[in-house]
């Protein structure tokens, strides 16, 4: 239940403290109140509609790489 994945911020709505994030081409509105200092193109960990922490791009990409590897492994 505490699942969280890094997502990229592609739009910010500062009035509402919300943003649009993107993961594998899917866009979703998320709540930014716990991580208000994010900027466009930053990465955050998304948990059930809320950003819970900012992460750097390198860490996020490492996770994506591991996830992809896992998918390949499952398919092989």
């Amino acid at each position: 239940m505490c699942l969280g994945i890094p997502v990229k911020i592609v739009e910010i709505n500062t009035d509402e403290q919300s943003a649009i994030c993107e993961y594998k081409g899917v866009r979703k509105k998320i709540d930014l109140r716990f991580v208000p200092d994010v900027k466009l193109n930053d990465y955050v960990i998304l948990h059930a509609g809320f950003a819970i922490q900012k992460v750097n791009q390198e860490s996020a990409e490492q996770i994506y790489e591991l996830l992809d590897k896992f998918e390949e492994f499952k398919e092989s």
Partner: protein, 358 residues
């Protein structure tokens, strides 16, 4: 069973070989994970089969749905019958109470949500209906429910309430260590709980009991690295806590999320399914937000029946038995016909072993 060793991944093979070498210094070790996502990943990746035979991984009470008591489901069903509509994460939908499950009883009036914030939309768009949001989860999710309550109050919403069974991880770790029912040599600690409460909260537990713990990420590599770090902590004994999931975990956690959680909730005695009551291990709404607590606004007395006595989820949750030791495992209890919560939730130890572990 597929194992990680089949992966063409040198880095992974290197960690496994480091673990094997480091484990030679020890007799037998029990490492407990207290996170449903870790449980699922451990079995999904076949990690137990590639570890040296003296390292035993135990699944602790880390799946929120699994530790939610039967009476909570009974209560939710009772509220449905009183005319409320229920909003819940999908995981809880099929969990059996002592009478039935939300799915079996009144599926039409139960809405599955992805985020607690969706409940505000439901309440605003249906002012003629009354909604109960089932607040289940650990510290990772509690701030989200706090945010919903704060927003509901700000927007003047009067038709949304919480049925609260939020729980806290450090107190249940202390409980397990205090009872000494089980030899635990180290903990794999939940990375996203620590993202919110901070590594310091876990350091206190590990230091108090001189028990190593590693705050771990969620990919198989992260978990393997964390197991290796646990072995190093046991070997060198210089400290008891290490953070492997450094990308997201800070010493103080997420201060804003913690503040929101502390504004809305206070600690309370809570019942854990299969374990019993533990002081200060749960959260309840504070006086200032009591109008959102359905147990206060509309108290219901329910009489729960005796739960299936053959279901041994309680012992699975305390790490005492492996799911395969339960007489119902794959013998009347499966993800299609779950008899207990550990088989319902995809993060439950029984479901994980049923799906990946054999």
């Amino acid at each position: 069973m597929n194992s990680l060793i089949n992966l063409k991944n040198l880095k992974r093979a290197e960690i496994i070989s480091d673990i094997k070498k480091a484990a030679e210094d020890f007799q037998s070790l029990n490492f407990m994970e207290v996170c449903g996502t870790h449980t699922m990943q451990i079995y999904r990746a076949g990690i137990p089969s590639i570890l040296p035979s003296n390292i035993n991984l135990l699944s602790g009470p880390g799946c929120p749905v699994c530790v939610t008591p039967e009476e909570f489901i009974d209560k939710a069903i009772a509220y449905l019958k009183e005319g409320y509509e229920i909003l819940t994460f999908g995981d809880l939908y099929r969990v059996p109470g002592t009478y039935g499950s939300l799915e079996k009883e009144c599926s039409g009036k139960v809405k599955i949500i992805y985020s607690p914030s969706e409940s505000l939309e439901y309440a605003l768009n249906n002012s003629d209906k009354k909604f109960i949001l089932l607040a289940v989860g650990f510290e990772t999710t509690a701030p989200l429910f706090a945010a919903v309550v704060i927003d509901a109050k700000k927007k003047g919403i009067k038709n949304l309430f919480l049925l609260c069974a939020l729980k806290l991880i450090p107190p249940v770790m202390r409980y397990l260590l205090e009872t000494g029912e089980l030899k635990i040599d180290g903990f794999l600690l939940p990375g996203h709980v620590a993202t919110i409460i901070g590594s310091e909260a876990f350091r206190k537990v590990c230091d108090d009991y001189k028990k190593p713990g590693v705050v771990s990420g969620f990919e198989p590599e992260d978990i393997l690295q964390s197991i290796f770090i646990l072995l190093m902590l046991l070997k060198y004994k210089s400290r008891f806590l290490e953070i492997q999931y450094r990308m997201a975990v800070k010493r103080e956690g997420n201060v804003l999320a913690r503040r929101e959680m502390e504004k809305v909730f206070q600690k309370t005695k809570a019942k854990w399914r299969g374990i019993g009551e533990i002081e200060n291990s749960g959260l309840t709404l504070k006086e200032e937000f009591i109008e959102y607590d359905i147990s206060y606004i509309h108290p219901l007395k329910i009489e729960s029946q005796v739960f299936n006595p053959r279901c041994r989820c309680g012992e699975v949750l305390r790490g005492i038995i492996s799911p395969v030791d339960c007489p119902l495992f794959d013998n009347g209890c499966s993800p299609q016909t779950p008899q207990g919560p550990c088989m319902v939730s995809s993060e439950g130890a029984c479901a994980a072993i049923y799906k990946y572990g054999r």
